[in-house]
Symmetry: C2
Subunit: 537 residues, 2 copies
């Protein structure tokens, strides 16, 4: 493909993409019912072509074979999981990232890629009102991870290595002993590490994203969750944490890592930072990571920053610009108070190769701030998004999402005959249940769960709307959230009317067998909408 | 930015990108000497703008502030690390990926994204002549990781969890015990796991990429490297491995994971698969992962597939299409013989949520095949690249890279007064040293190292060419590899002439102080070109 062919192909692709984006307002969020597991394979050849094909042959296949099988996250009827915003400026950023493609693992591997990232992290940190200690000017620093779940792995492995260093000292030789003497010294140290490591336990509230449990498994340590209560709107309190810490201690375990949430996946609960910080004064070895994957974006609005109070006591913080700040996936922003702890844990550069430029932070080698070695040029996308929308434009986008949630919340309350609110609109997210037609009393949770689940599945089966359900203790509930650029009151109202209609039908019909089709279409993977709520962690 | 503004901006960006690509033939690989650490910050405002800016204001800044600070991996004078190919079709793929943006963690999160990936992995597996056991038709399967280093983490954590399950049984309750009884049972099991885990050791040859040592650290297990010898061209032999295994066993350790390389970073050595498989018959608990990050691409040429002999004995295999197969970073292709081992290790879906569709592989939830939850739509890029070039086009690209390496190798041999070849051209990579002017005998390694390092640094300081050095035992050597689309005999010859000229100068000058400028410009981070050779692992 030469330059002329590329120009022609790119122009055609741009028109196709514009047409796709313009169709989104009227598109249902889910693929149509003809899309079954395995739909694509019969439509494609068995193997790659031997000879080159022209763009004229390729682009039509994207339209006819791929688009029908997409779930349209930018559809204003997409109210599932959390939003994963895409935008025209984000696409331009990705286009430039592809053009300047480089696995920029160190400064010299492409200086502009490293330097723009450092500056953008400070821009974003300022825009969110992050405490100075997380910005490069305050001794901290930001880094773009691919996902909030990778940020949890980084924080958790750093926490584990930090407590191991504190308790067992620095390694005597490098990673890789050669002489018999080095072997013996390293074996002795590793034995000690093994003893300590085997008692370490990572913690998170029971509403923390499953990424923490997964990270603990990757890191090879125990994980225990901290029970929370509906009385506190599912936020972890200082007392909840204290009880869990004492429990683990009495079992002979050593807590070393804690995820606190600024906006849990199920209900957008915000754990009680100041209470937690107070408790943790007695547990200085615990690394605290703030998972603000979705709601962190809202901190761009100054009036919401009271949620950050106490965050300066914690060690790291991550949120996804690719969820609610109009930046294409992936752009997960991680701020770290003491990046040297991360590099000391992840760098495999032996001590004799340390140098004054790196130590003085004259250059940053982001490979030591992340799991992979190579990394994409993601900051150019952030730069373009921030400039194209301006802080004011991004604030307006957040305000709209919050307002839509409050409207939906209000409509639910007007129909308290049909619905019960589990948690009120919070960062645009509303969580509710459907009341059973003939409630046998306040304790008939099972009947409420049955009708709520039936409503949930019928809604998604309709194809018009895509929602997510969750389980809070023994309560089965439905989540609604609309953080899309195309989201509007009109779409919200349409969604509400559909929820009402289906709820009334399901309550009237009881358990009629409309679910058969539902199960076949939407619930192929029962875990999809239930356990893994979080689209982009 | 509305559709019309996007169209206009995208067309302008496309012209900018075409202009950039057309300039690459004459561009040096490294930024010019005005680019110092910290160059960018003074050129940018201190914070993000409050109000929106137009594309007319943004694009010129990309040209004036970012492009000068890029390292140009597509420049034909880029002969460092390994190539990281970009291409017009790859850019189109990234553009579509951005347009259809979705964190496709499960099938329903965007069916087309999952299904195209599954089919593309079979296309790529066939194109490489991978044994059937790694393809979905043979019970295995492929997945696109972001990088070869993530693939190592996945393989290593899976290996660790497998041996723990084999030795300690399945977990009694879920991940997260609630009742006192469950706590006690889980504590007992975790204690046992801790004991086993603390003795586990991961292995790789001393020429294996540092990603294995880093993965072992992330996973919290020991790592030991297997010594290899120059007599065997730095390939790990069966005997090398056997000795290392017996050594670890005698120290009371339990080997559970091994990286074998198909093309090491320093010299493109290929470990001796069949000998290694023979030795490992006595060590059935070891998971073997093949790191073919760079050279794996060459398997698209049938005449080179003899390198794969024995690979069917191993458990997983990874190579980067984003290195040498004209696909933009990131596209790391991982084949797994038994994907159930991976999902059993990484999935946090509790058993009661398993379902017949997932178990029957009717749907694949790739989130359980990787570290992060969310994932980009990478397969559309692979689809577009495979179709645009065809297998024939990709084979021609590989053949060219191999030929350029052989030419350079031949020229070095013609100047055996100046150069000594450390390893002959192998997958396009040549490794050589400069002979000292007045060699005091065959053992004067130090003099050879001094002049070779001086030549290396002077070459990179020239700005015309970007190479990488390496250390093999006590030999300091220079690597040359050109796998770029724009690479040509003309550029190779120009590079060789420069190497000759600088070598002759350095031999004449001895240790004159031309290095001062070198250190300031190129060697800001001494680790950049030495330890971390591999651009994209």
């Amino acid at each position: 493909m030469d330059a002329n062919e590329f120009r022609e192909a790119a122009h055609a692709a741009i028109e196709h993409i514009i047409g796709y984006c313009q169709s989104l307002s009227d598109r249902p969020a889910l693929p149509d019912s003809s899309i079954h597991p395995g739909y694509l394979r019969p439509l494609l050849p068995d193997s790659a072509p031997q000879e080159p094909e022209k763009w004229d042959a390729i682009q039509p296949d994207i339209a006819s074979k791929i688009v029908p099988g997409l779930t349209h996250w930018q559809s204003p009827s997409f109210m599932a999981f959390f939003p994963a915003n895409s935008s025209y400026p984000g696409m331009l950023g990705e286009l430039y990232s592809a053009a300047f493609s480089a696995p920029a693992f160190s400064w010299i591997a492409s200086p502009a890629i490293t330097e723009l990232e450092t500056v953008m992290m400070d821009w974003v940190g300022q825009a969110l009102g992050m405490p100075e200690c997380f910005l490069s000017s305050g001794g901290g620093g930001g880094v773009i991870q691919g996902s909030a779940s990778e940020a949890v792995v980084i924080a958790l492995v750093t926490a584990r290595e930090r407590i191991l260093r504190q308790r067992a000292g620095e390694p005597p030789g490098g990673m890789d002993p050669r002489t018999d003497e080095d072997w013996a010294a390293e074996e002795a140290r590793e034995d000690k590490l093994g003893d300590i490591r085997s008692k370490l336990v990572a913690l998170g509230s029971e509403c923390a994203h499953s990424a923490t449990a997964k990270a603990a498994r990757i890191a090879g340590t125990r994980y225990r969750s901290v029970p929370v209560s509906r009385n506190n709107d599912f936020a972890m309190t200082g007392a909840d944490l204290k009880a869990a810490l004492e429990h683990t201690k009495s079992a002979g375990l050593v807590p070393y890592y804690l995820t606190v949430s600024l906006g849990t996946t199920s209900t957008c609960a915000v754990d009680r930072f100041e209470e937690i910080a107070e408790v943790l004064k007695d547990w200085p070895e615990i690394w605290v990571h703030v998972d603000a994957a979705y709601a962190g974006s809202a901190m761009i609005c100054p009036e919401l920053r009271y949620h950050l109070k106490g965050v300066e006591h914690f060690d790291s913080f991550d949120f996804n610009m690719h969820k609610w700040l109009l930046t294409n996936f992936d752009a997960s922003i991680m701020f770290i108070k003491n990046p040297q702890q991360v590099t000391a844990s992840l760098s495999i550069t032996p001590p004799f190769l340390r140098n004054k430029w790196s130590d003085a932070s004259l250059v940053t080698d982001y490979r030591d701030w992340q799991i992979p070695l190579g990394r994409r040029f993601r900051s150019i996308k952030i730069w373009i998004v921030l400039r194209t929308y301006g802080i004011a434009g991004l604030q307006a986008h957040i305000h709209k999402g919050i307002r839509l949630g409050e409207q939906f919340d209000g409509w639910l309350r007007e129909r308290s005959d049909l619905f019960e609110i589990v948690t009120a609109a919070n960062f645009g997210l509303v969580v509710f249940t459907v009341k059973p037609r003939d409630p046998k009393g306040a304790t008939d949770q099972e009947a409420a769960n049955t009708v709520t689940e039936a409503v949930y599945e019928a809604i998604n089966a309709s194809g018009e709307l895509f929602l997510t359900s969750t389980k809070l203790g023994d309560v089965y509930a439905i989540r609604v959230v609309n953080g899309n650029e195309l989201g509007s009151e009109k779409h919200m109202r349409k969604a509400f009317d559909l929820v009402v209609k289906i709820s009334e039908q399901e309550r009237t019909n009881g358990d009629v067998n409309t679910e058969i089709e539902v199960h076949e279409r939407v619930d192929m993977d029962p875990t999809a909408g239930k356990l893994e709520l979080d689209g982009t962690a």
